[in-house]
């Protein structure tokens, strides 16, 4: 029992990049199909990252590598904590810490586009943070625990109590997966007014680390989605798949919005979640 958490963490650290890369590959193929194209090979993300490691190591300032490495480590750490069944709030905060490192990396280089990307990343952070916290609180209210281990093994269908929270979380998931319409700080699509935004000045292995961190992050986020459906693992997995495909779909049917809309959407998502929680707590107060 005492060591199971360690197993979860280690499995995550090893498998998440594989899963994340595969998900990215599937994502790109589905996107291509939605656009009427063939798309890249399934393993393309791995080729990309492999390629990046083959490239020359160039920097604007050596400090940037440090921040990106820290970003990767803390993303991995928060994901590992998650799969180890840790405290959701602590995980969320570790996650924020990781992103702050990414942002600092972009600031460190003193380059116009990466600076703007960094500011926008912070706006995104500000937009989704309330919702993430509320999602954790919502899960607590249903399961009475902040521990992923408890939430994941609950028999309560959290989603039935938390539809608003889930919708809100799905909204900010779009921000987190860097998908249109909310991909303002850097986009997977090639063309953006701020070039590559926050990753403009990262290249070679540094960029590969950003990419790997993103895989970790995606797996972690999908794990979070799973929590809403955790009472039935099969439905849970199905829900994760459906949610992800829906995100790809949204990505393909919307234009990118301005930062104002991102902030408003993120905060409105949190308001939706709040309304949900308010009703929930009213019911619980009434019931108990």
């Amino acid at each position: 029992m005492t060591w199971t958490w360690l197993i979860g963490a280690v499995l995550f650290l090893i498998l998440a990049p594989v899963a994340g890369g595969l998900i990215a590959g599937i994502d790109r193929r589905i996107t291509a199909r939605m656009q009427g194209r063939v798309g890249p090979p399934l393993l393309q993300p791995f080729y990309d990252v492999g390629k990046l490691f083959e490239k020359e190591n160039v920097v604007v300032t050596t400090a940037q590598n440090f921040y990106v490495l820290a970003y990767l480590i803390f993303i991995a750490l928060s994901g590992a904590l998650f799969f180890a069944g840790g405290d959701l709030l602590l995980i969320v905060f570790a996650f924020t810490l990781a992103h702050v490192f990414l942002v600092l990396g972009a600031y460190a280089v003193h380059s116009p586009y990466s600076h703007i990307g960094a500011e926008r990343e912070l706006i995104q952070l500000m937009a989704y943070e309330p919702m993430v916290i509320l999602a954790a609180v919502g899960l607590y209210m249903v399961t009475n625990s902040f521990y992923v281990a408890d939430i994941a093994t609950t028999t309560i269908p959290a989603i039935l109590y938390l539809p608003g929270v889930f919708l809100g979380f799905a909204t900010i998931l779009t921000i987190k997966l860097r998908k249109s319409p909310f991909d303002i700080s850097t986009s997977h699509h090639a063309h953006q007014e701020i070039v590559k935004g926050i990753t403009t000045e990262f290249s070679g292995s540094t960029l590969a680390q950003v990419e790997i961190a993103h895989w970790y992050e995606n797996v972690f986020l999908l794990g979070f989605i799973f929590l809403f459906f955790a009472w039935n693992p099969i439905i849970g997995v199905a829900a994760v798949v459906v949610t992800y495909v829906a995100e790809i779909f949204i990505d393909n049917v919307t234009a990118r919005v301005r930062w104002q809309a991102v902030l408003k959407s993120g905060w409105l998502a949190a308001v939706l979640a709040l309304a949900n929680l308010a009703i929930l707590s009213y019911m619980m107060l009434g019931g108990v």
Binding site: M34, G36, V38, V253
Partner: protein, 132 residues
């Protein structure tokens, strides 16, 4: 439905499969008129120089005495004007494209046209020259 106006297209794309032309596997689409590249027949050219005069890019050079007909592939815009201008049909517009190269290509031909008799077709001689 204002929000997901693109849905129809996405669904159609998913259902219809990719529209991609699998280029290297399937040969490129061309039409009868496609202007791919200029082909020269050294056996019929009478070194009149009209093609060279008409060419808007000065891609063709001819040296009457040395019986040289040259085309600089890095200059030719494949407009076909030389083809229209050649009174002897020595030039034709081919449909297929030239492959990419790693150096500038000046194609060098030796004119084999022999004056009075009926010209006998001889294999054309090609050699890729070099230029700056």
């Amino acid at each position: 439905m204002g929000f997901f106006a693109m849905t129809k297209t996405v669904l159609r794309n998913l259902a219809g499969g990719p529209a991609t032309r699998q280029y290297p596997v399937v040969p490129a689409r061309t039409s009868a008129l496609t202007r791919g590249h200029i082909a020269f027949d050294p056996a019929t050219c009478r070194s009149c120089g009209l093609c060279s005069r008409r060419c808007p890019c000065e891609a063709i050079r001819i040296e009457k005495e040395e019986k040289v007909w040259e085309i600089n592939r890095m200059r030719c815009v494949a407009c076909g004007d030389c083809v229209e201008g050649c009174p002897f049909g020595s030039l034709t517009m081919e449909r297929d494209y030239l492959p990419p190269v790693v150096e500038h290509v000046v194609e060098h031909h030796t004119i084999t046209y022999v004056k009075p008799e009926k010209p006998e077709k001889k294999p054309k001689e090609e050699s890729a020259g070099e230029s700056a």
